[in-house]
Amino acid sequence: MSCPAERRLRKELLELLTNPMPGIYIDEEKVAKNINEWIVTIEGAEKTIYEGETFQLQFSFNEKYPFDSPTVLFIGKIPVHSHIYSNGHICLSILTDDWTPALSVGAVCLSIRSMLSSATKKERPPDDMIYTRTCSKNPKKTKWFFHDDTV
Protein backbone atom coordinates (compact mmCIF):
# COMPACT_ATOMS: atom_id res chain seq x y z
CA MET A 1 0.00 0.00 0.00
CA SER A 2 1.22 3.46 -0.91
CA CYS A 3 1.46 6.26 1.63
CA PRO A 4 -1.45 8.69 2.07
CA ALA A 5 0.47 11.51 0.35
CA GLU A 6 0.88 9.40 -2.76
CA ARG A 7 -2.75 8.27 -2.79
CA ARG A 8 -3.89 11.85 -2.47
CA LEU A 9 -1.61 13.01 -5.28
CA ARG A 10 -2.84 10.25 -7.60
CA LYS A 11 -6.43 11.34 -6.95
CA GLU A 12 -5.58 14.98 -7.63
CA LEU A 13 -3.79 14.02 -10.82
CA LEU A 14 -6.69 11.94 -12.05
CA GLU A 15 -9.09 14.77 -11.28
CA LEU A 16 -6.97 17.34 -13.14
CA LEU A 17 -6.58 15.05 -16.15
CA THR A 18 -10.27 14.19 -16.39
CA ASN A 19 -11.51 17.73 -15.67
CA PRO A 20 -8.74 19.99 -16.95
CA MET A 21 -8.79 23.63 -15.84
CA PRO A 22 -8.50 26.35 -18.49
CA GLY A 23 -4.94 27.58 -19.00
CA ILE A 24 -3.42 24.95 -16.70
CA TYR A 25 -1.58 21.93 -18.11
CA ILE A 26 0.12 19.07 -16.28
CA ASP A 27 3.29 17.46 -17.59
CA GLU A 28 1.94 13.92 -17.38
CA GLU A 29 5.16 12.19 -18.33
CA LYS A 30 7.16 13.93 -15.64
CA VAL A 31 4.54 13.11 -13.00
CA ALA A 32 4.40 9.48 -14.11
CA LYS A 33 8.14 9.20 -13.39
CA ASN A 34 7.88 10.73 -9.93
CA ILE A 35 4.58 11.51 -8.29
CA ASN A 36 6.30 13.87 -5.83
CA GLU A 37 7.55 16.33 -8.48
CA TRP A 38 5.08 18.03 -10.78
CA ILE A 39 5.64 20.51 -13.57
CA VAL A 40 2.56 22.59 -14.37
CA THR A 41 2.36 24.99 -17.30
CA ILE A 42 0.32 28.15 -16.78
CA GLU A 43 -0.92 30.28 -19.65
CA GLY A 44 -1.33 34.00 -19.09
CA ALA A 45 -5.06 34.68 -19.29
CA GLU A 46 -6.58 36.57 -22.19
CA LYS A 47 -6.93 40.34 -21.83
CA THR A 48 -4.27 40.50 -19.10
CA ILE A 49 -0.73 41.81 -19.27
CA TYR A 50 0.55 38.21 -19.48
CA GLU A 51 -1.64 37.22 -22.45
CA GLY A 52 0.33 35.04 -24.86
CA GLU A 53 3.02 34.15 -22.29
CA THR A 54 3.42 30.73 -20.66
CA PHE A 55 5.20 29.94 -17.43
CA GLN A 56 6.20 26.77 -15.65
CA LEU A 57 5.56 26.01 -11.99
CA GLN A 58 7.43 23.32 -10.13
CA PHE A 59 5.62 21.57 -7.28
CA SER A 60 7.52 19.36 -4.83
CA PHE A 61 5.66 17.32 -2.24
CA ASN A 62 6.99 15.61 0.85
CA GLU A 63 5.54 12.59 2.63
CA LYS A 64 3.55 14.86 4.94
CA TYR A 65 1.51 16.30 2.11
CA PRO A 66 -1.28 17.51 2.36
CA PHE A 67 -0.63 18.45 6.00
CA ASP A 68 2.54 20.14 4.83
CA SER A 69 2.19 22.57 1.96
CA PRO A 70 3.92 21.76 -1.33
CA THR A 71 7.01 23.76 -2.29
CA VAL A 72 6.00 25.79 -5.33
CA LEU A 73 8.18 27.99 -7.49
CA PHE A 74 8.46 29.27 -11.02
CA ILE A 75 11.20 27.73 -13.12
CA GLY A 76 12.62 28.80 -16.49
CA LYS A 77 11.19 32.12 -17.52
CA ILE A 78 10.00 33.91 -14.36
CA PRO A 79 6.97 36.21 -14.74
CA VAL A 80 7.69 39.80 -13.81
CA HIS A 81 5.21 40.48 -11.02
CA SER A 82 5.27 42.36 -7.74
CA HIS A 83 4.80 39.15 -5.71
CA ILE A 84 7.20 36.96 -7.65
CA TYR A 85 10.94 37.18 -7.03
CA SER A 86 13.39 36.82 -9.88
CA ASN A 87 14.57 33.46 -8.48
CA GLY A 88 11.05 32.04 -8.89
CA HIS A 89 9.90 32.32 -5.27
CA ILE A 90 6.28 33.36 -4.87
CA CYS A 91 4.93 35.49 -2.05
CA LEU A 92 1.50 33.90 -1.62
CA SER A 93 0.12 33.15 1.83
CA ILE A 94 -1.65 29.91 0.90
CA LEU A 95 1.76 28.41 0.10
CA THR A 96 2.90 28.78 3.71
CA ASP A 97 0.90 30.26 6.58
CA ASP A 98 -2.56 29.81 5.14
CA TRP A 99 -2.10 26.37 3.65
CA THR A 100 -4.66 23.77 4.74
CA PRO A 101 -5.11 20.18 3.55
CA ALA A 102 -8.40 21.27 2.00
CA LEU A 103 -6.39 23.06 -0.71
CA SER A 104 -4.88 21.23 -3.70
CA VAL A 105 -2.57 21.59 -6.68
CA GLY A 106 -5.52 22.82 -8.72
CA ALA A 107 -6.44 25.43 -6.12
CA VAL A 108 -2.85 26.69 -5.94
CA CYS A 109 -2.62 26.97 -9.74
CA LEU A 110 -5.89 28.88 -9.84
CA SER A 111 -4.71 31.36 -7.19
CA ILE A 112 -1.41 31.92 -8.95
CA ARG A 113 -3.12 32.39 -12.28
CA SER A 114 -5.55 34.92 -10.80
CA MET A 115 -2.68 36.65 -9.00
CA LEU A 116 -1.09 37.10 -12.43
CA SER A 117 -4.37 38.22 -13.97
CA SER A 118 -4.98 40.93 -11.39
CA ALA A 119 -1.61 42.65 -12.02
CA THR A 120 -1.61 45.90 -13.95
CA LYS A 121 2.13 46.58 -14.04
CA LYS A 122 5.08 44.30 -14.73
CA GLU A 123 7.50 44.93 -11.87
CA ARG A 124 9.57 42.95 -9.40
CA PRO A 125 8.99 43.12 -5.64
CA PRO A 126 10.78 46.12 -4.08
CA ASP A 127 13.12 43.90 -2.03
CA ASP A 128 13.90 41.55 -4.93
CA MET A 129 17.65 42.25 -4.95
CA ILE A 130 18.33 41.66 -1.32
CA TYR A 131 15.87 38.79 -0.99
CA THR A 132 17.27 36.75 -3.84
CA ARG A 133 20.80 37.18 -2.51
CA THR A 134 20.02 36.14 1.03
CA CYS A 135 17.09 33.76 1.07
CA SER A 136 17.24 30.01 1.50
CA LYS A 137 16.85 27.86 -1.62
CA ASN A 138 13.57 26.63 -0.23
CA PRO A 139 10.87 29.32 -0.30
CA LYS A 140 9.08 27.57 2.55
CA LYS A 141 11.99 28.47 4.83
CA THR A 142 11.29 32.13 4.24
CA LYS A 143 9.18 33.80 6.86
CA TRP A 144 7.18 35.97 4.51
CA PHE A 145 5.89 39.38 5.31
CA PHE A 146 3.00 39.16 2.91
CA HIS A 147 3.09 42.20 0.73
CA ASP A 148 -0.59 42.89 1.11
CA ASP A 149 -3.73 41.21 2.26
CA THR A 150 -5.20 40.65 -1.14
CA VAL A 151 -3.00 37.68 -2.01
Binding site: P4, R7, R8, P66, F67, S136, T142, K143
Partner: protein, 482 residues
Protein backbone atom coordinates in the same frame (compact mmCIF):
# COMPACT_ATOMS: atom_id res chain seq x y z
CA UNK B 1 -50.76 -24.38 43.15
CA UNK B 2 -49.86 -23.86 39.50
CA UNK B 3 -46.96 -21.80 40.76
CA UNK B 4 -45.42 -24.80 42.47
CA UNK B 5 -45.92 -27.01 39.43
CA UNK B 6 -44.28 -24.39 37.26
CA UNK B 7 -41.44 -24.21 39.67
CA UNK B 8 -40.83 -27.93 39.65
CA UNK B 9 -41.05 -28.00 35.90
CA UNK B 10 -38.53 -25.21 35.69
CA UNK B 11 -36.09 -27.06 37.88
CA UNK B 12 -36.47 -30.17 35.74
CA UNK B 13 -35.97 -28.17 32.56
CA UNK B 14 -32.94 -26.59 34.01
CA UNK B 15 -31.47 -29.93 34.91
CA UNK B 16 -32.21 -31.30 31.46
CA UNK B 17 -30.50 -28.35 29.94
CA UNK B 18 -27.48 -28.84 32.12
CA UNK B 19 -27.29 -32.49 31.04
CA UNK B 20 -27.58 -31.51 27.42
CA UNK B 21 -24.26 -29.68 27.64
CA UNK B 22 -22.55 -33.01 27.70
CA UNK B 23 -24.19 -34.14 24.52
CA UNK B 24 -23.77 -30.99 22.49
CA UNK B 25 -20.13 -30.46 23.43
CA UNK B 26 -18.80 -27.07 24.39
CA UNK B 27 -17.80 -25.86 20.95
CA UNK B 28 -19.91 -22.74 20.59
CA UNK B 29 -20.90 -22.19 24.20
CA UNK B 30 -20.40 -18.85 25.81
CA UNK B 31 -19.03 -18.99 29.35
CA UNK B 32 -20.54 -16.22 31.46
CA UNK B 33 -21.22 -15.40 35.09
CA UNK B 34 -24.53 -14.59 36.67
CA UNK B 35 -24.40 -12.56 39.86
CA UNK B 36 -27.33 -12.41 42.21
CA UNK B 37 -28.05 -9.64 44.66
CA UNK B 38 -27.78 -12.18 47.44
CA UNK B 39 -24.06 -12.37 46.73
CA UNK B 40 -23.98 -15.61 44.76
CA UNK B 41 -22.07 -16.00 41.53
CA UNK B 42 -23.07 -18.80 39.16
CA UNK B 43 -21.03 -19.69 36.12
CA UNK B 44 -22.95 -20.86 33.07
CA UNK B 45 -22.21 -21.94 29.54
CA UNK B 46 -24.82 -20.40 27.28
CA UNK B 47 -25.84 -21.49 23.83
CA UNK B 48 -26.00 -18.35 21.66
CA UNK B 49 -29.28 -19.62 20.23
CA UNK B 50 -31.02 -19.61 23.59
CA UNK B 51 -33.08 -16.75 24.83
CA UNK B 52 -33.30 -15.05 28.18
CA UNK B 53 -36.12 -17.31 29.41
CA UNK B 54 -33.67 -20.23 29.24
CA UNK B 55 -31.28 -18.28 31.40
CA UNK B 56 -34.03 -17.51 33.88
CA UNK B 57 -34.89 -21.17 34.23
CA UNK B 58 -31.23 -21.99 34.86
CA UNK B 59 -30.83 -19.34 37.48
CA UNK B 60 -34.17 -19.47 39.29
CA UNK B 61 -33.30 -22.49 41.47
CA UNK B 62 -30.25 -20.76 42.93
CA UNK B 63 -32.39 -17.81 43.91
CA UNK B 64 -35.08 -20.09 45.26
CA UNK B 65 -37.79 -18.43 43.18
CA UNK B 66 -39.72 -19.23 40.03
CA UNK B 67 -38.30 -18.26 36.62
CA UNK B 68 -41.19 -15.80 36.25
CA UNK B 69 -39.92 -13.84 39.18
CA UNK B 70 -36.39 -13.55 37.86
CA UNK B 71 -35.22 -10.33 36.28
CA UNK B 72 -32.05 -10.50 34.18
CA UNK B 73 -30.17 -7.22 33.95
CA UNK B 74 -27.29 -6.53 31.61
CA UNK B 75 -25.63 -3.25 30.67
CA UNK B 76 -28.26 -1.13 32.36
CA UNK B 77 -31.32 -2.79 30.92
CA UNK B 78 -33.63 -5.57 31.93
CA UNK B 79 -33.60 -8.19 29.20
CA UNK B 80 -36.83 -9.61 27.77
CA UNK B 81 -37.62 -13.29 27.82
CA UNK B 82 -37.57 -13.55 24.05
CA UNK B 83 -34.22 -11.81 23.53
CA UNK B 84 -31.71 -14.24 22.07
CA UNK B 85 -28.32 -14.59 23.75
CA UNK B 86 -26.58 -13.85 20.46
CA UNK B 87 -28.33 -10.46 20.33
CA UNK B 88 -26.99 -9.34 23.69
CA UNK B 89 -23.42 -8.42 22.84
CA UNK B 90 -22.14 -10.61 25.65
CA UNK B 91 -18.45 -11.43 25.59
CA UNK B 92 -17.03 -14.49 27.27
CA UNK B 93 -16.77 -14.01 31.03
CA UNK B 94 -19.41 -11.28 30.92
CA UNK B 95 -21.43 -10.76 34.03
CA UNK B 96 -25.23 -10.87 33.97
CA UNK B 97 -27.21 -9.87 37.00
CA UNK B 98 -30.18 -11.84 38.25
CA UNK B 99 -32.59 -10.46 40.83
CA UNK B 100 -36.02 -11.22 42.14
CA UNK B 101 -38.78 -8.97 40.84
CA UNK B 102 -40.04 -6.70 43.57
CA UNK B 103 -43.76 -6.96 42.91
CA UNK B 104 -46.39 -9.24 41.46
CA UNK B 105 -47.61 -6.62 38.97
CA UNK B 106 -44.13 -6.23 37.60
CA UNK B 107 -44.15 -9.91 36.73
CA UNK B 108 -47.48 -9.67 34.98
CA UNK B 109 -46.60 -6.71 32.79
CA UNK B 110 -43.46 -8.49 31.88
CA UNK B 111 -45.00 -11.75 30.71
CA UNK B 112 -47.37 -9.80 28.46
CA UNK B 113 -44.51 -7.74 27.19
CA UNK B 114 -42.97 -10.36 24.99
CA UNK B 115 -46.11 -10.60 22.89
CA UNK B 116 -46.50 -6.87 22.56
CA UNK B 117 -43.01 -5.71 21.89
CA UNK B 118 -44.28 -3.60 19.03
CA UNK B 119 -46.36 -1.43 21.31
CA UNK B 120 -44.03 -0.75 24.13
CA UNK B 121 -43.80 2.99 23.68
CA UNK B 122 -45.63 3.97 26.85
CA UNK B 123 -44.21 3.17 30.16
CA UNK B 124 -40.72 2.85 28.76
CA UNK B 125 -39.06 3.32 32.09
CA UNK B 126 -39.56 0.00 33.74
CA UNK B 127 -40.43 -2.16 30.84
CA UNK B 128 -37.95 -4.78 29.81
CA UNK B 129 -36.55 -4.05 26.42
CA UNK B 130 -33.76 -4.78 24.06
CA UNK B 131 -30.25 -4.89 25.39
CA UNK B 132 -28.82 -1.41 25.82
CA UNK B 133 -26.19 -2.08 23.20
CA UNK B 134 -28.71 -2.33 20.41
CA UNK B 135 -30.71 0.71 21.48
CA UNK B 136 -27.46 2.64 21.33
CA UNK B 137 -26.68 2.00 17.72
CA UNK B 138 -27.70 5.48 16.78
CA UNK B 139 -26.16 7.33 19.67
CA UNK B 140 -23.49 8.59 17.32
CA UNK B 141 -26.01 9.60 14.68
CA UNK B 142 -28.41 12.50 14.58
CA UNK B 143 -31.82 13.08 13.03
CA UNK B 144 -31.72 12.33 9.38
CA UNK B 145 -28.70 10.09 9.56
CA UNK B 146 -30.58 7.98 12.01
CA UNK B 147 -33.41 7.37 9.60
CA UNK B 148 -31.41 6.38 6.54
CA UNK B 149 -29.02 4.25 8.47
CA UNK B 150 -31.69 2.27 10.25
CA UNK B 151 -32.06 0.00 7.28
CA UNK B 152 -28.41 -0.56 6.54
CA UNK B 153 -27.22 -1.17 10.04
CA UNK B 154 -28.95 -3.72 12.08
CA UNK B 155 -25.52 -4.24 13.48
CA UNK B 156 -24.37 -3.53 17.00
CA UNK B 157 -23.26 -0.28 18.48
CA UNK B 158 -20.00 0.97 17.14
CA UNK B 159 -18.10 2.70 19.83
CA UNK B 160 -14.36 2.78 19.68
CA UNK B 161 -11.88 2.68 22.50
CA UNK B 162 -8.17 2.65 22.95
CA UNK B 163 -7.68 -0.67 24.66
CA UNK B 164 -4.74 -0.77 27.07
CA UNK B 165 -4.78 -4.57 26.88
CA UNK B 166 -4.78 -4.97 23.07
CA UNK B 167 -2.75 -1.71 22.77
CA UNK B 168 -4.72 -0.55 19.76
CA UNK B 169 -7.97 0.91 18.53
CA UNK B 170 -10.70 -1.60 19.34
CA UNK B 171 -14.42 -1.75 19.03
CA UNK B 172 -15.81 -0.78 22.37
CA UNK B 173 -18.89 -1.63 24.36
CA UNK B 174 -20.77 0.66 26.63
CA UNK B 175 -21.55 -0.55 30.11
CA UNK B 176 -23.34 0.99 33.03
CA UNK B 177 -23.21 0.68 36.79
CA UNK B 178 -24.64 2.31 39.89
CA UNK B 179 -22.84 5.54 40.87
CA UNK B 180 -23.20 4.68 44.56
CA UNK B 181 -22.27 1.02 44.97
CA UNK B 182 -20.64 0.59 41.52
CA UNK B 183 -22.74 -2.56 41.12
CA UNK B 184 -23.73 -3.57 37.61
CA UNK B 185 -27.26 -4.64 38.48
CA UNK B 186 -28.63 -1.30 37.44
CA UNK B 187 -31.60 -0.38 35.24
CA UNK B 188 -31.58 3.00 33.49
CA UNK B 189 -34.74 5.11 33.31
CA UNK B 190 -34.01 6.32 29.84
CA UNK B 191 -31.60 5.50 27.06
CA UNK B 192 -28.61 7.78 26.66
CA UNK B 193 -29.05 9.79 23.48
CA UNK B 194 -25.77 11.58 23.01
CA UNK B 195 -22.19 11.53 24.20
CA UNK B 196 -22.99 14.01 26.94
CA UNK B 197 -25.50 11.62 28.45
CA UNK B 198 -22.73 9.08 28.73
CA UNK B 199 -19.67 11.19 29.51
CA UNK B 200 -21.11 13.83 31.83
CA UNK B 201 -21.82 12.41 35.27
CA UNK B 202 -25.32 12.38 36.75
CA UNK B 203 -27.31 12.73 33.57
CA UNK B 204 -29.52 9.66 33.81
CA UNK B 205 -31.13 8.11 36.85
CA UNK B 206 -32.12 4.54 37.34
CA UNK B 207 -32.48 1.98 40.02
CA UNK B 208 -29.99 -0.29 41.51
CA UNK B 209 -30.61 -3.83 42.60
CA UNK B 210 -27.02 -4.81 43.14
CA UNK B 211 -27.57 -4.98 46.88
CA UNK B 212 -30.52 -6.49 48.69
CA UNK B 213 -31.51 -3.02 49.80
CA UNK B 214 -31.87 -0.65 46.84
CA UNK B 215 -29.22 2.10 46.69
CA UNK B 216 -30.51 5.60 47.52
CA UNK B 217 -29.01 8.95 46.63
CA UNK B 218 -29.44 12.44 48.11
CA UNK B 219 -31.54 13.50 45.11
CA UNK B 220 -35.16 14.46 45.61
CA UNK B 221 -36.50 11.16 44.38
CA UNK B 222 -33.75 9.18 46.10
CA UNK B 223 -32.69 7.41 42.94
CA UNK B 224 -29.06 6.74 42.12
CA UNK B 225 -27.47 7.78 38.84
CA UNK B 226 -26.15 5.67 36.04
CA UNK B 227 -22.37 5.71 35.65
CA UNK B 228 -21.32 4.78 32.13
CA UNK B 229 -18.00 3.30 31.13
CA UNK B 230 -16.46 1.54 28.15
CA UNK B 231 -14.78 -1.80 27.66
CA UNK B 232 -12.88 -3.33 24.80
CA UNK B 233 -15.06 -5.64 22.74
CA UNK B 234 -12.16 -7.42 21.10
CA UNK B 235 -10.53 -9.27 23.94
CA UNK B 236 -12.21 -11.61 26.41
CA UNK B 237 -13.78 -9.63 29.18
CA UNK B 238 -11.38 -9.12 32.06
CA UNK B 239 -14.27 -8.84 34.49
CA UNK B 240 -15.89 -5.70 35.80
CA UNK B 241 -12.68 -3.73 36.25
CA UNK B 242 -11.54 -3.88 32.64
CA UNK B 243 -11.97 -0.32 31.31
CA UNK B 244 -10.92 1.42 28.13
CA UNK B 245 -10.98 5.10 27.17
CA UNK B 246 -13.69 5.93 24.64
CA UNK B 247 -12.46 7.66 21.47
CA UNK B 248 -15.45 9.83 20.82
CA UNK B 249 -14.22 11.20 17.50
CA UNK B 250 -13.80 7.79 15.88
CA UNK B 251 -16.93 6.89 13.97
CA UNK B 252 -18.25 4.40 11.50
CA UNK B 253 -18.16 6.03 8.11
CA UNK B 254 -21.80 5.33 7.30
CA UNK B 255 -22.08 8.33 5.01
CA UNK B 256 -18.96 7.29 3.08
CA UNK B 257 -17.20 10.61 3.55
CA UNK B 258 -13.81 10.74 1.82
CA UNK B 259 -10.73 11.60 3.89
CA UNK B 260 -9.89 15.31 3.73
CA UNK B 261 -6.25 14.50 3.14
CA UNK B 262 -5.91 11.39 0.97
CA UNK B 263 -9.42 11.32 -0.46
CA UNK B 264 -9.96 7.63 0.30
CA UNK B 265 -13.19 6.39 1.80
CA UNK B 266 -12.31 4.26 4.76
CA UNK B 267 -13.89 2.92 7.89
CA UNK B 268 -13.74 3.87 10.69
CA UNK B 269 -12.76 7.54 10.40
CA UNK B 270 -11.91 10.38 12.75
CA UNK B 271 -14.32 13.31 12.60
CA UNK B 272 -12.87 16.54 13.98
CA UNK B 273 -15.09 18.41 16.43
CA UNK B 274 -15.48 21.42 14.12
CA UNK B 275 -18.81 22.60 12.76
CA UNK B 276 -17.94 21.28 9.31
CA UNK B 277 -17.12 17.87 10.76
CA UNK B 278 -13.90 17.53 8.74
CA UNK B 279 -13.18 13.86 8.34
CA UNK B 280 -9.84 12.10 8.18
CA UNK B 281 -8.86 8.49 7.72
CA UNK B 282 -6.82 7.09 10.60
CA UNK B 283 -3.58 6.92 8.59
CA UNK B 284 -3.85 10.57 7.70
CA UNK B 285 -4.75 11.50 11.26
CA UNK B 286 -1.52 9.89 12.44
CA UNK B 287 0.42 11.65 9.69
CA UNK B 288 -1.14 14.94 10.75
CA UNK B 289 -0.20 14.40 14.40
CA UNK B 290 3.36 13.39 13.53
CA UNK B 291 3.97 16.36 11.28
CA UNK B 292 2.60 18.78 13.86
CA UNK B 293 4.50 17.07 16.63
CA UNK B 294 7.82 17.39 14.85
CA UNK B 295 7.23 21.12 14.47
CA UNK B 296 6.01 21.43 18.05
CA UNK B 297 2.76 22.79 16.78
CA UNK B 298 0.59 21.09 19.38
CA UNK B 299 -1.15 23.51 21.71
CA UNK B 300 -1.25 23.31 25.48
CA UNK B 301 -4.93 23.82 26.08
CA UNK B 302 -5.86 24.79 29.59
CA UNK B 303 -8.78 22.38 29.75
CA UNK B 304 -7.97 19.57 27.37
CA UNK B 305 -4.18 19.24 27.63
CA UNK B 306 -1.59 19.02 24.86
CA UNK B 307 -3.71 18.84 21.76
CA UNK B 308 -4.43 19.75 18.15
CA UNK B 309 -7.27 21.42 16.29
CA UNK B 310 -8.84 20.51 12.95
CA UNK B 311 -6.16 20.67 10.22
CA UNK B 312 -8.32 23.09 8.23
CA UNK B 313 -7.88 25.58 11.12
CA UNK B 314 -11.57 25.65 12.01
CA UNK B 315 -12.64 27.50 15.14
CA UNK B 316 -13.34 25.60 18.33
CA UNK B 317 -12.07 22.36 16.92
CA UNK B 318 -9.63 21.16 19.57
CA UNK B 319 -9.54 17.47 20.25
CA UNK B 320 -10.84 17.30 23.79
CA UNK B 321 -10.13 13.67 24.57
CA UNK B 322 -6.37 13.34 24.32
CA UNK B 323 -6.56 9.55 24.38
CA UNK B 324 -6.99 9.92 20.61
CA UNK B 325 -3.24 10.50 20.43
CA UNK B 326 -2.73 6.97 21.72
CA UNK B 327 -3.46 5.93 18.15
CA UNK B 328 0.13 7.00 17.39
CA UNK B 329 2.87 4.39 17.37
CA UNK B 330 4.64 4.08 20.69
CA UNK B 331 7.71 6.16 19.76
CA UNK B 332 5.58 9.05 18.64
CA UNK B 333 3.26 8.77 21.58
CA UNK B 334 6.28 8.90 23.89
CA UNK B 335 7.46 12.01 22.11
CA UNK B 336 3.99 13.49 22.40
CA UNK B 337 4.08 12.95 26.14
CA UNK B 338 7.58 14.34 26.42
CA UNK B 339 6.77 17.49 24.44
CA UNK B 340 3.54 17.89 26.37
CA UNK B 341 5.44 17.74 29.64
CA UNK B 342 8.06 20.20 28.39
CA UNK B 343 5.41 22.60 27.25
CA UNK B 344 3.81 22.36 30.66
CA UNK B 345 7.15 23.17 32.28
CA UNK B 346 7.70 26.21 30.04
CA UNK B 347 4.21 27.50 30.68
CA UNK B 348 4.67 27.20 34.41
CA UNK B 349 7.81 29.33 34.14
CA UNK B 350 10.26 26.42 34.14
CA UNK B 351 13.22 25.75 31.86
CA UNK B 352 14.46 22.89 29.71
CA UNK B 353 17.92 21.48 30.37
CA UNK B 354 20.19 22.79 27.58
CA UNK B 355 22.42 19.70 27.43
CA UNK B 356 22.21 17.90 24.08
CA UNK B 357 20.19 14.67 24.39
CA UNK B 358 18.77 15.71 27.73
CA UNK B 359 16.17 18.48 27.51
CA UNK B 360 14.68 17.54 30.87
CA UNK B 361 11.98 19.96 32.01
CA UNK B 362 12.87 21.57 35.33
CA UNK B 363 10.64 23.76 37.46
CA UNK B 364 12.74 26.57 38.89
CA UNK B 365 12.87 28.76 41.92
CA UNK B 366 12.02 32.30 40.88
CA UNK B 367 14.76 33.88 42.98
CA UNK B 368 17.62 31.59 42.08
CA UNK B 369 19.53 31.44 38.81
CA UNK B 370 21.28 28.17 39.60
CA UNK B 371 19.42 25.26 38.02
CA UNK B 372 20.34 21.64 38.65
CA UNK B 373 19.13 18.97 36.20
CA UNK B 374 18.40 16.72 39.12
CA UNK B 375 16.34 14.02 37.49
CA UNK B 376 18.21 14.11 34.20
CA UNK B 377 21.85 14.55 33.23
CA UNK B 378 22.93 16.31 36.44
CA UNK B 379 24.10 19.43 34.59
CA UNK B 380 24.14 22.59 36.70
CA UNK B 381 23.42 25.66 34.64
CA UNK B 382 22.49 29.32 34.69
CA UNK B 383 18.78 29.99 34.29
CA UNK B 384 19.45 33.09 32.18
CA UNK B 385 22.21 32.19 29.70
CA UNK B 386 21.74 28.38 29.82
CA UNK B 387 25.51 27.93 30.11
CA UNK B 388 27.25 26.13 32.96
CA UNK B 389 26.42 27.82 36.24
CA UNK B 390 28.52 30.86 37.08
CA UNK B 391 28.63 33.56 39.69
CA UNK B 392 28.25 37.14 38.52
CA UNK B 393 26.99 38.48 35.21
CA UNK B 394 26.41 36.23 32.21
CA UNK B 395 29.30 36.20 29.76
CA UNK B 396 28.75 37.38 26.22
CA UNK B 397 28.07 34.51 23.84
CA UNK B 398 31.48 34.63 22.09
CA UNK B 399 33.52 34.41 25.29
CA UNK B 400 31.84 31.27 26.47
CA UNK B 401 33.61 28.57 24.46
CA UNK B 402 37.03 29.80 25.65
CA UNK B 403 35.96 30.02 29.24
CA UNK B 404 34.30 26.67 29.68
CA UNK B 405 36.63 25.77 32.55
CA UNK B 406 35.23 28.63 34.60
CA UNK B 407 31.80 27.03 34.66
CA UNK B 408 31.06 24.96 37.65
CA UNK B 409 30.02 21.47 36.62
CA UNK B 410 28.79 19.13 39.27
CA UNK B 411 31.20 16.31 38.54
CA UNK B 412 29.55 12.99 38.18
CA UNK B 413 32.27 10.30 37.81
CA UNK B 414 30.16 8.14 35.55
CA UNK B 415 29.84 11.02 33.15
CA UNK B 416 33.44 12.12 33.02
CA UNK B 417 34.28 9.66 30.26
CA UNK B 418 31.57 11.12 28.07
CA UNK B 419 32.45 14.69 28.87
CA UNK B 420 34.63 15.28 25.87
CA UNK B 421 31.91 14.28 23.54
CA UNK B 422 29.48 16.46 25.43
CA UNK B 423 31.86 19.36 25.13
CA UNK B 424 32.22 18.83 21.41
CA UNK B 425 28.53 18.68 20.76
CA UNK B 426 28.03 21.67 22.98
CA UNK B 427 30.16 23.73 20.65
CA UNK B 428 28.43 22.25 17.64
CA UNK B 429 25.09 23.18 19.04
CA UNK B 430 26.17 26.77 19.59
CA UNK B 431 26.94 27.05 15.93
CA UNK B 432 23.62 25.79 14.68
CA UNK B 433 21.06 26.61 17.36
CA UNK B 434 20.26 29.58 19.52
CA UNK B 435 17.44 29.95 22.00
CA UNK B 436 14.42 31.94 20.94
CA UNK B 437 14.85 35.27 22.80
CA UNK B 438 11.25 35.12 23.90
CA UNK B 439 10.61 31.55 25.02
CA UNK B 440 14.19 30.17 25.08
CA UNK B 441 13.36 27.13 22.92
CA UNK B 442 16.43 26.09 20.94
CA UNK B 443 15.94 27.08 17.31
CA UNK B 444 18.04 25.81 14.45
CA UNK B 445 19.19 28.21 11.81
CA UNK B 446 18.17 27.03 8.36
CA UNK B 447 19.29 28.71 5.18
CA UNK B 448 21.17 31.95 4.77
CA UNK B 449 18.90 34.48 6.43
CA UNK B 450 19.44 35.91 9.89
CA UNK B 451 15.69 36.29 10.13
CA UNK B 452 14.45 33.60 12.53
CA UNK B 453 10.94 32.60 13.45
CA UNK B 454 10.35 30.51 16.55
CA UNK B 455 8.46 27.39 15.49
CA UNK B 456 7.04 26.72 18.91
CA UNK B 457 3.25 26.95 18.80
CA UNK B 458 1.97 30.00 20.62
CA UNK B 459 5.33 31.80 20.40
CA UNK B 460 6.09 32.37 16.69
CA UNK B 461 8.41 35.17 17.77
CA UNK B 462 10.34 36.67 14.86
CA UNK B 463 13.89 37.46 15.84
CA UNK B 464 17.34 38.24 14.62
CA UNK B 465 20.10 35.63 14.82
CA UNK B 466 22.72 38.33 15.32
CA UNK B 467 21.02 40.69 17.77
CA UNK B 468 18.97 37.95 19.47
CA UNK B 469 16.16 40.43 19.80
CA UNK B 470 13.07 41.09 17.72
CA UNK B 471 13.63 41.20 13.94
CA UNK B 472 13.47 44.75 12.67
CA UNK B 473 13.90 46.67 9.44
CA UNK B 474 17.27 47.75 10.82
CA UNK B 475 18.34 44.11 11.01
CA UNK B 476 17.43 43.70 7.34
CA UNK B 477 19.53 46.68 6.46
CA UNK B 478 22.51 45.84 8.62
CA UNK B 479 22.88 42.08 8.54
CA UNK B 480 20.04 40.33 6.75
CA UNK B 481 22.61 37.74 5.78
CA UNK B 482 26.29 37.00 6.23
Amino acid sequence: MSFIINFIRAVLDAMLELFSFGRKGISNKLPIFVKTNTGKQISLNLDPEWNISNVKRLVAPSLGISPDEVKIIFAGKELEDCTRISECDLGTQSVLHAVKSRSRSEIETKSKKCLETLFDDENVGDVPSKPLSSTLVDLQLKGEERRDSESNIKAKAHFFVHCPECKKLCRGKLRVRCNICKGGCFTVHRDPECWDDVLVPKKIQGHCESKEIACMSDEENGLPFAEFYFKCAEHGSGGEKDYAAPLTLIKMNLKKVPCLACGDISDPVLVFPCVAGHTSCLDCFKLYCISRLQERQFISHREFGYTLACPVNCENSFIQEIHHFKLLEKDYYDRYQQFGAEEFVLQSGGVLCPQPNCGMGILVDENCNRVHCQNGCNFVFCKICKQGYHIGDCLPESAISNNMSVSEFSVNPSRVAGARWDEASKIAIQVTTKPCPKCRTATERAGGCMHMACTRAGCNFEWCWICQTEWTRDCMAAHWFG
